[in-house]
Each structure stands twice: as structure tokens, then as C-alpha cells.
């Protein structure tokens, strides 16, 4: 099975991008990074302004991958049970008994929209499910279906009444994906597509089992020692004394860069990790793990600029 999946992986990714491209115009990098996070069996945080097709993108990906999709709109009054599910009383043959009603977290792909609007307690319930891949309600633990992928979104504007995710919880997201506005040509294409009566349809490209096979194959992609060292050096350099960095990245970042680079290599049809993969994945892996100093924020520097400087100094 793995062998077949591997030999057809090039075709799989090409068809996936073609199918997703029927619905999503542009945003190629964001789609790539979402697929990378899924292949790494991890989760991603998307930050973008409203109206940039975050929900559409992730629902399209779930259709192409033939995975169950659910969406949670996070609000301050959202309770943990609204996510995990709860016991309800049911009348069975004249007898009343409790039945567990699974919440939206029981899906393969979960979109937690505006996760920073949920209360810390609800965020914790969500993040526990992400980490443990299981949900505990009452005294019973329910394993989540595989693959399990959470795409949480944050809005960079309107920070009023939000509960920003603590750094420790941000660390659990493999990637922080940035979605930018489309180019004028892309916007023109978006308008053309969505002002007609024809709704673009997405066909299933691979099965759930093939997704799991791809997750296994991702970890099999070999990496050279010097390329691995480069990834580790980049992470280590975020921890050194710097006037721009308050806190550096954890060892999870090193694991994340290498794993994401492996997934990217497989996606690009390579049977080895290239230094180019490391460089490309360092930004989404590190940008939510590196905390900048007040001085760098005052100078208007972004995390990506600081990461770029670090990478220039690492051989």
C-alpha cells in the first residue's frame, strides 16, 4: 500500500492542487502549508483578514481528501462541551439513559474559527483534543478519528474582547499560515467564478487511508545530516542573546521544521529533504514561536524579518 501511495504521490498532489484550484483562486502557498500540516499529522493556525476564503479553503481540502469536516465558530460564551460533546438523556424502551452526543471536534478536519474569541477554558479543551487526539467527557475517554487536523484561525484586527492564545498553547500548532489578499488578476478570476450560477464542484482525490499512508511516508523521507544541522542551528539562533528576540523557539520547532520540510519534499516529488525545504518551512514553523522584544516592535520589525536575518547568518 505504501509503495503504491509513494509511486503515485506525485499524481496525487498534482490532482489535489488541480481540484482545490477549481474552487480556490491563488493562495497556493497557504493550500500547500495546510496540506503539509495534515501530512505531518499536526495542526495549523491561520491568520488573515476576514473574507479571504479560510473556511472555503479548508472545506475544499476536506472534500478533496474525502474527510469529515466540521466548523466551530468561537465566541466568548462557547463552552467546552459545545466542542467536545455532552451526555444527553434519552428514552429507550421506557427507560431513561445517558447517551454521549459527540461534539464538532469528532471530525477529521476541524475549523476553529477565531479561536482567540473563545474563553481560555474552551481553548484549553480544544488544545487538549489537539494534543492528545482524544476527548474525555465525564469519566470516559473517546478517541478521535484519524486523521485529526485542526485549523484554527485568528483575526489580526479587532483584538477587543479576545483571549490571545498563550505562547505555550501556540507552540502546539505546527504552522502559522498567513493568507494575504489576492493579486488583481486573481481577484478578477474570483469575481468571474462566484458571480455566476455555476458552483465549482470538488471531486474526491484520495481516501482517508491514503491520507494516513501519506502521513507515514512523510516521516520516511530521508534528510542529510548537514541539512538537519541547518534546521537545528536556525532554531538555536532564536534562543541566543538578541536585541530583537525576547523568547526563542522550543525543541518542538526543530522537530516541526524537519517534519514540515519532509512533507514539503514529498509534495514536491523529491525523495530527500533539500535545504530549500528547510528555508521555506522555517517561517511558518517559527513565526508564532518567536516572541519579539519591545524594541523590535517599536522599530516595526516583523517576526519574518527577524527569522530571515537569522537564516542569513546560519550556514
Amino acid at each position: 500500500m505504501s509503495n503504491e501511495t509513494y509511486t503515485s504521490s506525485n499524481r496525487i498532489f498534482k490532482e489535489l492542487f488541480d481540484e482545490i484550484g477549481k474552487v480556490i483562486v491563488g493562495q497556493r502557498e497557504a493550500v500547500e502549508q495546510i496540506l503539509i500540516a495534515i501530512m505531518c499529522n499536526s495542526h495549523a493556525l491561520v491568520e488573515s483578514n476576514p473574507g479571504l476564503a479560510k473556511t472555503l479553503t479548508i472545506s475544499t481540502v476536506s472534500k478533496a481528501l474525502d474527510l469529515k469536516f466540521s466548523r466551530i465558530q468561537c465566541t466568548p460564551d462557547l463552552m467546552p462541551s459545545d466542542i467536545t460533546g455532552t451526555y444527553i438523556i434519552e428514552d429507550v424502551g421506557g427507560k431513561k439513559q445517558f447517551r454521549f452526543e459527540p461534539g464538532p471536534v469528532f471530525a477529521n478536519i476541524v475549523l476553529a474559527d477565531e479561536i482567540n474569541r473563545a474563553s481560555p477554558k474552551t481553548q484549553s479543551a480544544m488544545l487538549e483534543a489537539m494534543q492528545e487526539k482524544q476527548v474525555t467527557v465525564g469519566n470516559k475517554t473517546y478517541p478521535l478519528d484519524k486523521p485529526f487536523f485542526v485549523l484554527a484561525t485568528q483575526n489580526p484586527i479587532e483584538m477587543e474582547g479576545t483571549y490571545p492564545l498563550p505562547e505555550a498553547q501556540l507552540d502546539r500548532f505546527l504552522l502559522k499560515i498567513l493568507m494575504d489578499y489576492p493579486s488583481p488578476e486573481e481577484e478578477n478570476e474570483i469575481v468571474n467564478r462566484y458571480t455566476k450560477n455555476i458552483t465549482p464542484m470538488v471531486n474526491k482525490v484520495i481516501s482517508k487511508n491514503e491520507v494516513l499512508e501519506l502521513q507515514k511516508l512523510t516521516r520516511d523521507v530521508p534528510i542529510a545530516e548537514d541539512i538537519k544541522s541547518r534546521a537545528i542551528s536556525i532554531v538555536l539562533n532564536t534562543r541566543g542573546k538578541s536585541e530583537y528576540i525576547e523568547y526563542g523557539a522550543s525543541p518542538r520547532a526543530s522537530i516541526g521544521i524537519i517534519l514540515a520540510a519532509k512533507a514539503r519534499a514529498l509534495m514536491k516529488g523529491r525523495n530527500y529533504v533539500s535545504a530549500e525545504d528547510i528555508d521555506a518551512m522555517a517561517y511558518p514553523v517559527l513565526r508564532h514561536r518567536v516572541i519579539l522584544t519591545f524594541e523590535s516592535e517599536r522599530k516595526g520589525m516583523t517576526t519574518d524579518q527577524v527569522i530571515s536575518d537569522i537564516m542569513k547568518n546560519v550556514k
Binding site: S2, Y6, L217, D220, P222, A224, I227, N271, V273
Partner: protein
């Protein structure tokens, strides 16, 4: 062992053989340069003049020293050879192996579908890799030509040292100019050993010694006895003409080579050319002088 590792090993030994050859050619080239230089500056002559005790034959020193210098400098030039990352060298020359070769090599002990596919791909690509392309034959040939030319030059110089060697006096003058030790009137150095052209004039004027030089020289109003005694140091002792008692000092054997350094076959053969009468006279003279 994986197929690509066998090919890599073969390639590695080919490259290292070429590196060894380059090292040897550098040794030969540097040896030639230094040996020629030693001949030109008359190193052997200066070694003979030294007062330091040398436990072996002086004429072995220049070639041995040149060889040691050649090997030492070549070693310094090639000291990083063993540290060369062969995989990066191959990847640099063959871009289709870039990152693949080192990945396959670093993960040589592991096996999975992707890695096995990579190893096969690398193995296929290694078929077209040759050590001649990595360390170019052109480089090797140019070094070979340089080494041969230098060696030929050295052989030529070694066979005719008189033609190419800088005269000892010139070197001394240069040395004096450099050190600022220029000797002025009354302190001129004298060639007490005599010049070859004077050798045949021995005893012609009756007052000369066996080398045709005067026994007594007047320097700054003083009469200086310039007689050379066999076995008495390597040069001469300055003393008053009236002084008859010689103070023998234990010294190295009289260096015949110094006499011979300005002639092609040395002083011995010159003495051998004398008639029997002359030889007896010289012998008698030497015996009489030795009893003083």
C-alpha cells in the same frame, strides 16, 4: 552493502590515488627548486666552512635538506586533503546528485521505500561519475609537466655546478652588504689557501710556500707568518714573524675540499701532477715544517 556505497568506495579510492600523486609531484617540484637553490648558493661550501660538528658527510646535506623541505611544504599544502568532503566535491561537479548523495550516504544504514528509491537513483547517477572529472586530468598533467621541467633543470645544475653556482666571493660580498660588515683598507680578508692559478708556482721565488704564496705578509707594518700547517685548524694562525714556537690547537682535519673548491678536481690531483723531485721536495718540506 548498498550498490551505491560500493561505487562510492571505488570512486573514493580513485580520487585519493590522484591526490597522492598530486602530493608526490609537489614534493618533486619543491625538492627540485630547493636543491637547485642550494647548489647555486654553494651551500656545501658554507657547510664545510662551518665550525659546528657535523656527524655525516656534508655533501649529503643539501639533497636531504631539499627533500625534507619538499615533503614538509607539500604536506602543508595538502594537509586539508584528508578533510575534503568528497560528497560535496562530487555534488559540486554533478548537479543532479546535489543533496541526494549526502542524504543517501548519511542514511546508508536505514531502509524504507523512499530511501531505497533514493539509493537506486544515486547508484544510477554514480555510473557517470569519474574521478578524472572530479580531479581533472589536466591539473594532474600540468603538475607533472612542471615537476619534470623542474627536475630536469635540477639535474642540469647538479651536473655543472661550476657554471650555475654563484661564486663564493659574490655571496660573501652580498652577505657583507646586507649585514653592513664592509671591510676597509688594512683589514681585507686574504685568501690564505691560495688560488689555483698560483699552485704551480710553488717554490718558484724561493720564498713561497707549497701553494706559491709568500710565507710572510706585511699588514699594517707587521710581518705576519702565513704558513699553513697540515692538520692545523682549517685556516691559518696570525703570529709575529719572529715567533718560532707554534701553539697547536686541536682542530678538525685540514679541509682539503676548501683547496679544491675553486678547481675542478681538487688539490690532491694537482699535487699528483708534480714530478717525483717536486713531490720529494714537498714531502721533505712538510716533514721539516711539522717538526717545528
Amino acid at each position: 552493502m548498498d550498490e551505491f556505497l560500493v561505487k562510492l568506495q571505488k570512486l573514493k579510492s580513485g580520487i585519493f590515488s590522484r591526490m597522492k600523486l598530486l602530493f608526490l609531484l609537489d614534493v618533486v617540484a619543491i625538492f627540485s627548486i630547493f636543491y637547485s637553490l642550494f647548489i647555486v648558493v654553494n651551500l656545501e661550501y658554507f657547510l664545510n666552512k662551518t665550525t659546528f660538528y657535523i656527524p655525516f658527510q656534508v655533501n649529503f646535506i643539501p639533497p636531504v635538506l631539499a627533500l625534507l623541505l619538499g615533503a614538509g611544504i607539500a604536506f602543508l599544502l595538502h594537509r586539508k586533503d584528508s578533510k575534503i568532503n568528497l560528497y560535496l566535491l562530487i555534488e559540486k561537479k554533478y548537479s543532479d546528485l546535489k543533496e541526494k548523495l549526502r542524504t543517501a550516504y548519511d542514511n546508508r544504514d536505514e531502509s524504507n521505500i523512499i530511501l531505497d528509491a533514493l539509493k537506486m537513483e544515486v547508484s544510477g547517477s554514480l555510473d557517470k561519475v569519474s574521478s578524472a572529472h572530479i580531479l581533472t586530468t589536466g591539473k594532474l598533467l600540468s603538475k607533472l609537466v612542471i615537476a619534470v621541467i623542474l627536475l630536469a633543470g635540477t639535474v642540469t645544475i647538479a651536473q655543472n655546478p661550476g657554471t650555475y653556482a654563484i661564486p663564493v666571493e659574490t655571496i660573501k660580498d652580498i652577505g657583507n652588504t646586507i649585514t653592513g660588515n664592509v671591510e676597509k683598507g688594512g683589514n681585507e680578508t686574504m685568501d690564505v689557501a691560495g688560488r689555483p692559478e698560483d699552485f704551480d708556482k710553488a717554490g718558484e721565488d724561493g720564498g713561497g710556500n707549497i701553494k706559491g704564496k709568500p710565507n710572510i705578509a706585511t699588514i699594517e707594518g707587521k710581518n705576519i707568518d702565513l704558513a699553513i700547517f697540515p692538520g692545523y685548524e682549517s685556516g691559518y694562525e696570525l703570529k709575529e714573524a719572529g715567533q718560532t714556537q707554534n701553539q697547536f690547537i686541536k682542530s678538525a682535519a685540514f679541509p682539503v675540499d676548501i683547496l679544491g673548491s675553486n678547481v675542478s678536481d681538487g688539490g690532491y690531483s694537482i699535487l699528483m701532477k708534480k714530478t717525483e723531485t717536486e713531490k720529494q721536495l714537498i714531502n721533505k718540506y712538510a716533514v721539516e715544517r711539522s717538526t717545528i
